[in-house]
């Protein structure tokens, strides 16, 4: 049986927040930095997405069914492509038509929802699957979670949604002596297959390719394929998972990364017995060797391969808890504008900007934060979130008023509140936690009129 080489590329762009101040709370609901988002998307499209898509298309044309790759594209990236660079979506659609590309499912906003016990994770995945079908005519059967975050529990949830396979990291502290170059399964549900990232070979490209201080620089296709042969002697699958921005953005064109990729298939075909497959094809072809036990979440981040990049300090935990505290209320309101903002606040990047371990992290420069410090990131995010919470409270009150109006057949329309100092009801408090309380209070207020 031939060995499998599986390329998977992640495409994600968060919708970045503008500087949102305390004074804006309750007044302005435009949270996003249009300029920075537009210019970032355009820059990366020009440097990476478009040229790399052209290259992938060239290779598919040249090698036909022998060259395959897989992508997952977050909903927040797609939203912004549609706004600023629709040609990027078109070029992915062209690739989809070739049949040599698998599109994977993920959480729509590239979120941390899998770490929350709410049903937000399932809802976001469902939404992303629908979008994939709409745009690319494929129903994803493989899922990859944000930054390959995975645990036994998350795997179970993914299996319950009907996915056949999932991508995660071949973290050493989980694998122990085992090799990432085989197929594994979820610990509880063997139906869910796991493909594990080969960190060394993936990071050789995504992190080290252009690093001149690195002893192995420069990497040629010839050299790389020899490494591939060496490291995969007694194994079946090598999974090369990386950010798509590796090509042209993180590793600029001058490093020769495009030329490297162009010549890579030739060397693979002539020097190895590897074949290119998509994740779905790979899990069909290979037999799983063992269940993988992952009691605590892992990811592809940093040396630790855990989730401390997003949930590593008290700022991040607090932001996370507050974000998911309002989840059921946001869903209950079912308001498209609110949903959109809430989804954008879900992006894991906002939490990544709050990490405090960045100073010891040598790949920090790859993730330029829009904030000077994690503390500023937290303040800004919490200000925005506070405003969203206020909107939720206001909308809940209005809904109740409207409901009552319908039943009472009242004529007076609901006046939007614009007073500088709202009337304060001593006992009930405006920040009512349950709709029942709001109900009671609004009735009281109404009876005064």
């Amino acid at each position: 049986m031939r060995k499998t080489l599986c390329f998977y590329f992640q495409i994600h762009q968060p919708v970045r927040l503008r500087r949102y101040r305390f004074f804006d709370i309750g007044k302005r609901h435009d949270y996003f930095d249009e300029y920075v988002n537009r210019s970032t998307i355009r820059r990366v499209a020009e440097k990476c997405y478009l040229p790399m898509n052209r290259l992938v298309m060239d290779m598919i044309k040249r090698y036909g069914e022998n060259f395959k790759v897989s992508f997952s594209i977050s909903g927040s990236a797609l939203e912004q492509f549609a706004l600023h660079t629709p040609e990027v979506i078109e070029s992915f659609q062209e690739l989809a038509k070739t049949g040599c590309v698998e599109f994977l499912a993920e959480t729509y906003p590239h979120s941390l929802a899998s770490l929350s016990s709410t049903n937000e994770f399932e809802m976001q995945v469902k939404r992303h699957v629908e979008r994939m079908q709409e745009l690319f005519g494929q129903k994803p059967v493989t899922l990859r979670n944000s930054s390959l975050i995975y645990s036994d529990q998350i795997g179970e949830r993914v299996a319950a949604m009907g996915f056949e396979a999932m991508l995660t990291d071949g973290a050493k502290h989980v694998l122990g002596w085992k090799s990432p170059n085989f197929l594994y399964t979820n610990a509880a549900n063997p139906k869910l297959k796991l493909l594990l990232k080969n960190s060394r070979l993936s990071d050789d490209l995504s992190m080290r390719f252009g690093e001149r201080e690195w002893g192995e620089w420069p990497i040629t296709a010839d050299k790389y394929v020899r490494w591939l042969n060496d490291s995969a002697k007694d194994s079946e699958i090598v999974n090369l998972f990386m950010n798509y921005e590796t090509f042209g953005e993180n590793q600029p064109a001058e490093t020769g990364i495009f030329e490297f990729m162009r010549s890579l298939p030739e060397y693979i075909f002539s020097m190895t017995d590897f074949e290119f497959l998509t994740p779905n094809e790979a899990v069909k072809k290979h037999q799983p060797v063992a269940p993988l036990h992952v009691p605590y979440p892992i990811s592809w981040s940093d040396e630790e391969k855990d989730i401390t990049s997003w949930m590593g300090n008290e700022l991040q935990t607090e932001a996370f808890e507050e974000l998911f505290k309002i989840q059921s209320r946001v869903r209950a309101l079912n308001d498209p504008v609110l949903d959109k903002d809430y989804a954008r606040l879900q992006s894991s990047d906002h939490f990544y900007y709050m990490r405090t371990k960045l100073f010891s992290d040598n790949d920090f420069h790859r993730y330029i934060s829009p904030y000077e410090t994690p503390y500023e990131a937290f303040i800004n995010y919490m200000n925005v979130l506070s405003d969203v919470i206020l909107r939720v409270e206001d909308m809940e009150k209005k809904r109740i008023l409207v409901d009552e109006k319908d039943t009472d057949n009242e004529e007076n329309p609901v006046k939007p509140k614009k007073t500088t100092r709202a009337p304060r009801v001593k006992s009930a408090e405006s920040a009512a936690k349950t709709s029942k309380k709001v109900d009671a209070k609004e009735k009281k207020v109404k009876s005064k009129h």
């Binding site: 300090n313 503390y375 509140k417 709202a422 408090e429 920040a431």
Partner: protein, 438 residues
């Protein structure tokens, strides 16, 4: 009477609590016909002017801004000396503040810049160098200028005052706006302490901004009580305009505004906020300012899980300070040690009821403010809760406070300072006439 005054900052350059006070005082003195030459190091940044005397009249920007105050400017002859330093600021804050000031062209004269100075490496050495250089320059100026008395503001200028006194033989008054104990708690920097004590000993009169500070000067520095006089600061609202803002939040707002440093007691504000929020959810807390405890404060707020009700604004400039006051229902100053403390007066001026720590000089002059021990978080929480819950209390504190604060005029404070000058001059004269040396 002509006064040679040594200061470190002065509006509109970089104006902290000290700058604001120096400005108010000189303005008040001018009204009493006292002529002042104000010497200050240039807090501009890059210029390397080892010994330079700049007549500030060439500073067009400043002149245009204050050109209306002719009476004032006729009496203040302004000189600047090149320097890359500002007192009380650690290098980071200094850089940030200067950049901000340059960027916006605004000046946050409402914020007290006094900060615990961190003596680390190069900067510490440079600061002492600057102080020494400033003193050397002071000697030159004292030899060239004609004046009756020397007045030096805070420790960075004491050495300058001593040199000027030695060169000219004129009496020296030093003005203590803060001591090393206020800035650093019990972990005083010995070098700074020594400079302070030498200044106080060499001075003919010591002016303190409160009795609290006067006691420190007497007890901690061993200075003869007879020559230490308290002149409480005042506040000048003439240039302030009331800003009316529409509030975006429905809840009541409790505000801490000042540098987030040890001296200001931010942690007591956070702990009290946590207690209040448990009993009274219809409120938001705001911590406005920056400082070396900024990050720690944010972490504490996250730990307490109150971050959706507790907000940070960062350093506020210009109109934003007034905006913050008009957003506020309660103003809290829980300072651990505050020689005076101007900002509660500004809050009161905006009609905001205030809670201040008993460990502040301003507590000596205010009647219509709630006073608590800074460490008594329960009492602080209780006071906040009361002002939020009992409207009559807040209303009275707000209205009476406004009236009270309008009585605190620099003119009156300046009169007391002028009296101090007179007594110092008389003392020197009597010494000379009785044949005593200086």
């Amino acid at each position: 009477m002509k006064v040679l005054m040594f200061g470190w900052e002065f509006p509109p350059h970089i104006a902290g609590g000290l700058g604001t006070a120096s400005y108010g005082l000189t303005k008040g003195l001018a009204k009493h016909g006292v002529k002042i030459m104000f010497v200050m190091p240039k807090a501009g940044g890059d210029e390397d002017q080892s010994v330079a005397k700049i007549i500030n009249a060439s500073d067009v920007e400043m002149m245009s801004e204050y050109s209306t105050l002719d009476e004032y400017w006729q009496n203040v002859n302004f000189m600047e000396i090149g320097s890359n330093l500002v007192p009380y600021l650690d290098p980071e804050t200094f850089e940030k503040t200067v950049t901000e000031a340059v960027k916006t062209g605004e000046h946050g004269e409402h914020i007290a810049f006094r900060n615990k100075f961190q003596f680390s490496g190069k900067y510490g050495a440079n600061l002492m160098e600057e102080v020494a250089r400033y003193a050397m320059v002071a000697g030159t100026i004292a030899a060239q200028q004609d004046f009756d008395i020397i007045h030096a503001h805070d420790w960075l200028t004491y050495a300058a005052g001593i040199v000027a006194k030695k060169v000219s033989g004129k009496p020296l008054v030093i003005h203590v706006h803060a001591t090393e104990f206020d800035r650093s708690g019990e972990h005083v920097n010995q070098q700074v302490y020594d400079i302070e004590r030498r200044g106080m000993e060499a001075a003919d009169r010591v002016i303190t901004v409160s009795n609290l500070t006067r006691n420190i000067v007497i007890n901690r520095y061993g200075i003869d009580p007879d020559k230490v006089v308290t002149v409480h600061n005042a506040v000048d609202f003439q240039t302030r305009e009331d800003v009316e803002v529409e509030r975006g939040v429905k809840e009541k707002v409790v505000t801490f505004l000042g540098r987030i440093t040890f001296q200001k007691g931010p942690e007591y504000f956070i702990e009290a906020a946590n207690k209040v929020l448990k009993r009274y959810p219809n409120v938001r807390f705001v911590m406005a300012g920056s400082g070396d405890l900024f990050n720690r404060s944010i972490r504490r707020v996250a730990q307490l899980k109150i971050a959706t009700k507790f907000h940070f604004t960062g350093f506020l400039r210009g109109d934003d300070v007034q905006k913050m006051f008009s957003y506020s229902d309660v103003y809290v100053m829980p300072s651990v040690s505050e020689p005076f403390g101007i900002s509660p007066l500004e809050a009161m001026r905006a009609g905001v009821p205030t809670i201040i720590s008993k460990q502040s000089g301003v507590a000596e002059v205010l009647k219509h403010s709630i006073k608590v021990d800074y460490w008594d978080v329960d009492a602080l929480a209780d006071a906040i809760y009361a002002l939020l819950s009992y409207p009559a209390l807040g209303k009275m504190a707000g209205e009476q406070g406004l009236e009270e604060v309008n009585q605190l005029k620099w003119e009156n404070a300046a009169l007391k300072v002028a009296e101090v000058y007179k007594s110092a001059l008389e003392m020197i004269r009597s010494r000379v006439s009785s044949g005593q040396g200086l």
